[in-house]
């Protein structure tokens, strides 16, 4: 074995308790100081491989075969105590959701210092000094006192960086980063990405970077390994994967991500008839002013996108329109008639005309009902249809959302994420609505599946003349299907114009920031952004 190989996994195989093969014969080599990107859709086994590199398998799985050699030692052959010695010390893990990974009852410093003290690498004062150094390197505010804060006292991006500090606390040889920026807003993601990259470079740590976003991994990884269904599809240098993918699947992944930035496939369906008009709405949660004077209008057959980061009030806007949260002031007009503020005051007919599609299809449909009940109920409820009619309509709806008719007997647990989202769309369509509010309809889905859902939504708009309000944080999605776009910041629209104008000529600084923060599919994109920022600062 070469001296520079730090992690060498061969023939890794993981089985579930039920006997399904989760990871099948995967090899993986990592040199010192190298970053390897693991990419694939959900269920591809990325996280499982990441955890197996520490010889850890989640509940329900077990490592059935293969070797994990870390710095010349096969850690699969070690006992639990031997593995404990390795974990955190030589190889460390950064989880996707920092908020869930930190213990809210301990200060950040306690948690960052825990590992080196436990592994007897440093005394507590030494560990604290090193932690402060890391806080500085990670550009955390007030690094001297940052550690005395508790997890809830810092923002999501800061917490993610604190977790990076925790992982680095023992100066491990290998870092496993499991979707470290996925849960963050785009503008925060870029900050964290820049810092993680410089941290890895500065200390020469080797890293496994797990993500589903090719553009993100392109910024940090030297090599990329593409996975699908627990098997390796291909591995290559980042440039080669992006530009000369050998496998069809990789090419499709690249194409979907790449297409987003360029193609616009907006259908010409807009008719001069205002479906919905929101006039100067204000809404509060308790005393907190969430939506501050928003005005919006939607034409028939039009898609209006509302973009913004988490906490900007965009989902609240959806709640106002659907009547779940009555606005304190302002008015909503539906087809030129005032819409009652609360759900209670709205007639069945008014409820029918506005439908909502949720972000996470898993919780948006009842797991204990069959699709026939889920899709058929609105037909029965709104139109008083008899059994035969409901069945006929349910089949028709399944055809519309491109699902087989025999799925009507299934329950949501027997469907994939994308299929569940199709069911949600079918349920909304069952009411024959004029307006569908799409609350992050593709955010929980894999890129290829998300692409199919967007295509379906466009098709339905063309065929049925639907209007959409699309709420999302994903600018790619906006760019692709929205006719007009509103940019929301702290409860207000900072821009509302045609999508082309927003993207080509962003006037508001926030809009510019948002657009430039979306990672592009170029290897040197992050460095360019960084250089641009430094220039601007200087």
């Amino acid at each position: 074995m070469e001296d520079s190989t730090i992690l060498n996994i061969t023939g890794l195989r993981l089985l579930s308790v039920a006997g399904n093969v989760i990871v099948d014969n995967v090899d993986l080599q990592l040199q010192r100081g190298e970053v390897l990107g693991l990419i694939g859709e959900s269920g591809a086994g990325k996280s499982t491989i990441g955890l197996s590199s520490m010889c850890y398998a989640r509940a329900g799985l077990h490592i059935a075969g293969g070797e994990v050699v870390l710095g010349g030692v096969n850690i699969r052959a070690l006992d639990a105590e031997g593995r404990r010695q390795v974990r955190g010390k030589r190889i460390a893990y950064i989880a996707q959701s920092a908020a869930a990974a930190f213990n809210p009852a301990h200060s950040l410093m306690d948690q960052v210092c825990e590992a080196p003290v436990l592994h007897k690498l440093m005394t507590r004062p030494q560990a604290e000094a090193w932690a402060r150094e890391l806080f500085v390197a990670l550009d955390l505010p007030d690094p001297q006192n940052f550690g005395s804060r508790y997890p809830h006292q810092v923002s999501g991006g800061q917490l993610q960086r604190a977790m990076a500090a925790m992982a680095m606390s023992c100066r491990p040889d290998v870092l496993v980063l499991d979707e470290p920026t996925t849960a963050l807003d785009v503008t925060t993601q870029i900050e964290v990405l820049i810092l993680l990259k410089s941290l890895i470079r500065q200390y020469g740590t080797a890293a496994l970077y797990i993500t589903h976003d090719l553009a993100v991994v392109a910024q940090v990884a030297d090599r990329i390994k593409v996975l699908r269904h627990g098997k390796e599809v291909e591995e290559g240098l980042t440039q080669q994967i992006l530009h000369e993918a050998r496998q069809d699947y990789t090419a499709r992944l690249v194409a979907v991500r790449g297409a987003a930035a360029s193609e616009r496939a907006v259908s010409a369906t807009v008719q001069p008839e205002t479906v919905l008009k929101v006039q100067d709405c204000h809404a509060y949660y308790g005393d907190f002013h969430v939506v501050r004077g928003v005005s919006l209008d939607v034409q028939r057959g039009e898609t209006v996108a509302v973009v913004g980061e988490s906490g900007s009030g965009k989902s609240t806007l959806a709640r106002i329109i659907t009547g779940l949260l009555p606005p304190r002031s302002g008015q909503i007009l539906f087809q030129d008639k005032a819409l009652p503020a609360t759900l209670k005051e709205r007639s069945k007919e008014l409820k029918r005309t506005i439908q909502l599609v949720y972000q996470i299809p898993d919780v948006a449909i009842n797991p204990r009902q069959t699709l026939r009940e889920i899709v058929g109920r609105p037909v029965e409820f709104y139109f008083g249809a008899g059994r035969a009619e409901v069945n006929a309509r349910a089949q028709e709806l399944m055809t519309l959302v491109e699902l087989p008719h025999d799925y009507l007997e299934r329950r949501p647990g027997q469907l994939s994420g994308g299929q569940k989202q199709r069911v949600c769309i079918a349920r909304a369509l069952a009411a024959k609505p004029d307006l569908i509010i799409l609350d992050e309809p593709t955010s929980a889905l894999d890129p290829l599946v998300a692409e199919e859902i967007l295509t379906l939504l466009r098709k339905l708009q063309r065929e049925l003349g639907l209007s959409y309000i699309l709420i999302t944080h994903d600018l790619d999605v906006v760019h692709r299907i929205a006719h007009r776009t509103a940019v929301m910041l702290q409860g207000q629209f900072v821009a509302f114009d045609t999508t082309d104008k927003i993207f080509e000529n962003p006037e508001h600084p926030y809009t510019q920031k948002l657009i430039t923060a979306v990672p592009e599919m170029r290897v040197d994109w992050l460095d360019e952004v960084l250089a641009k920022r430094q220039k601007a600062a200087a």
């Binding site: 308790v17 010889c55 850890y56 398998a57 989640r58 509940a59 329900g60 799985l61 077990h62 490592i63 639990a80 593995r83 659907t322 009547g323 779940l324 759900l343 709205r346 069945k348 409820k351 439908q355 909502l356 949720y358 996470i360 919780v363 948006a364 449909i365 009842n366 797991p367 204990r368 009902q369 009940e373 109920r377 609105p378 409820f381 709104y382 349920r427 009411a431």
Partner: protein, 277 residues
């Protein structure tokens, strides 16, 4: 051995066998009991013999027969109480969770008040005032016990009402009854069923306790708690009489608990799953 696709543990198998045995006895007592419920066969506390397997009770009735009828009565009443308390508790709990607002405040405070009085004392007062007939007994304990079911179902309901599929049903304009019975209840069954087993145990013990104090099921009906009391004096003479009904109470309680434990364990995680360290 497997049941519903889950591996049965030894203790669960034992529990189920005992519970099945008790259910069988209770269902068919009149046909399988050796004597009639109140027939005097022998003398006071006769020793066990071929004629009377467990001997006789304090007035010479066959202990085995009395225990069969006693189990039938106690189990029957306990099931009636538990079923009624679940009906009341689930209904009020889920309505509280789904409707919220003052309805929730009203029910929660009422339950707080009821829970602040020890239930045995509460039951003693009510049964003392109204006298102890079987219907009053069932009603009283069911209402008292429903407070705990209320708390559980309200908590379950709270977790489920925030699910988006419930919100979707409300947005559609569905009424309270649909939301409770079609959207929430099907997702709350698993914990409620295991709670049913536990509440049954408590109620079973509670009636036995009340009967032991003389306020539960009244003679001439046989019931396990009452039998312990009636035969308690026999212990002074070194005789086994009160031990038999007491053992029956303990055996059934422990067995139901074993079954419930097993049910809770399959609910908690997929069978055999454990993180590999």
């Amino acid at each position: 051995m497997k049941l519903f696709g889950h591996k049965l543990t030894a203790s669960a198998t034992f529990g189920m066998a005992v519970v099945a045995f008790f259910i069988f006895i209770s269902l068919f007592t009149p046909w399988i009991a050796p004597y009639s419920e109140s027939a005097n066969i022998g003398g006071t506390w006769d020793e066990p013999s071929a004629k009377m397997l467990f001997g006789a009770d304090q007035i010479g009735r066959d202990m085995l027969t009395r225990m069969m009828y006693g189990s039938r009565m106690t189990i029957g009443v306990a099931i009636a109480i538990t079923a009624l308390s679940f009906l009341i508790g689930i209904l009020t709990g889920l309505v509280s969770a789904v409707v919220g607002g003052w309805v929730d405040v009203f029910f929660t405070r009422l339950v707080d008040v009821m829970l602040s009085i020890p239930s045995l004392i509460f039951a003693l007062i009510i049964l003392g005032v109204f006298g102890s007939s079987i219907p009053t007994l069932i009603m009283t304990i069911a209402v008292l016990d429903s407070t705990r079911v209320f708390r559980l179902s309200r908590a379950l309901g709270m977790n489920l009402t925030v699910m988006e599929y419930v919100e979707a049903a409300r947005l559609r304009g569905e009424g309270l009854w649909w939301v409770i019975t079609r959207e929430i209840l099907p997702n709350a069954w698993a914990p409620l069923v295991s709670e049913f087993g536990l509440r049954f145990c408590f109620n079973f013990l509670f009636i036995a306790g009340l009967s032991f104090l003389g306020l539960g099921i009244q003679p001439p009906y046989a019931d396990l708690g009452g039998m312990v009391r009636e035969n308690a004096a026999a212990i002074n003479f070194g005789m086994m009489a009160p031990i038999y009904p007491a053992t029956a109470i303990a055996l059934l309680t422990v067995s139901v608990n074993l079954v419930v434990d097993w049910m809770l364990s399959i609910d908690a995680r997929p069978s055999g799953a454990q993180a590999e360290l």
